[in-house]
Amino acid sequence: MTFRKFAKYVNEEENLVKTVFISLLTSFALLAFFYMFKLRYVENFIPKYGFFLFFAILSYSLILPSVKHVKIYREFACMSGMMIGMTIGMISGFLAGFYIGSTNGMFIGSVFGMSLGIFLGIWNGKCCGIMGTLEGIMAGFMGGLMGSMTALMMFNDNLKYMAVLVFLVSGITLFGLNYMIYKETREAEKRKNDETFFIIFWSILLTTVTTWLMVFGPRSVLFQ
């Protein structure tokens, strides 16, 4: 059965579950460190930022394994590469924009969401050349803007439920992307496999930037 084979591939061959765990562990450990020394002195840190920071970290722990999965093969056919650039650009831009937009407003949420979405969109979309790269740029741009705009517009309308919903839909989409990569690359040669350092580095970077932006970063007039 293909799905059973996929589950085995995800768990044993590519260690994607282990990657999720490493990303979560790194991010939460870093956050605990920040909390011990700095964030616990920030007024209302947990009620104000805890929820969105928690889901931002969960989102990164789903995005990074997908990025790692793409990096293992590096080269894809045009259609697959475009789908990879679009999915990763859109989802990373949307999630980052949504969670930052929820605490800091639309401008900084859009800037951060677009930056992350476009960067990851290009980085992953270039696996098939210029088409995937362009797709990544467009998707990251759109996702970052849409994420923060959605967050701002839902501020008084069950924003937290929406945050959970957005996370679940993104998780399912990324799961689908990993399945597509598996289907497309069964015969392909792997370039790299052990990317633990890559995951730790990006988890630290994204958690640090997100936390700093949420707590100390600039915010829109309505959020001051």
């Binding site: 768990n11 044993e12 579950v17 282990k18 999720v20 765990f21 979560l24 562990l25 939460f28 956050l31 209302n44 947990i46 009620p47 805890g50 929820f51 920071l53 928690f54 969960l58 701002l152 517009m153 501020f155 008084n156 309308d157 937290k160 007039v221 309505l222 959020f223």
Partner: protein
């Protein structure tokens, strides 16, 4: 009994999420606050709304039936929140300055929603 590595990772992920989530998800819900109209000289009921936590403050207003109501938005209200609507009373007006107001006479009892034109800021008008 030998535990599979993958099962172990799944269990650890769930423990991490539940453990950290328990600590971090202690949120504060939407704040509700109430204002009763200032009856002034008896000709009209005066309400002044401001903004707190990106919503109208107070977001529950209590007024008396049959007496005209004037709602003002102070200078803290910006953006689309200045476009004030109460659908049930046919109110939709852009209040450009803090001196502008909407005026209507509540002719039915009950709870009615008021909102900005985009629905981002909302509240309840209680007519007694």
């Amino acid at each position: 009994m030998k535990i599979k590595k993958t099962t172990l990772y799944f269990a650890l992920i769930i423990i991490l999420i539940v453990g950290v989530g328990f600590f971090m998800l202690k949120g504060n819900g939407l704040e509700t606050n109430t204002a009763v109209s200032d009856n002034g000289n008896g000709d009209f009921q005066k309400i002044i709304l401001s903004v707190k936590n990106l919503n109208y403050y107070p977001n529950t207003i209590t007024v008396k039936e049959g007496i005209p109501v004037r709602i003002y938005l102070d200078s803290s209200v910006t953006g689309c929140l200045r476009s004030f609507t109460i659908r049930d009373f046919g109110i939709a007006k852009y209040l450009k300055t803090p001196n502008d107001y909407v005026e209507f006479t509540p002719n039915k009892k009950g709870s009615f929603r008021f909102a900005c034109s985009m629905g981002m800021g909302t509240g309840t008008l209680v007519v007694e």
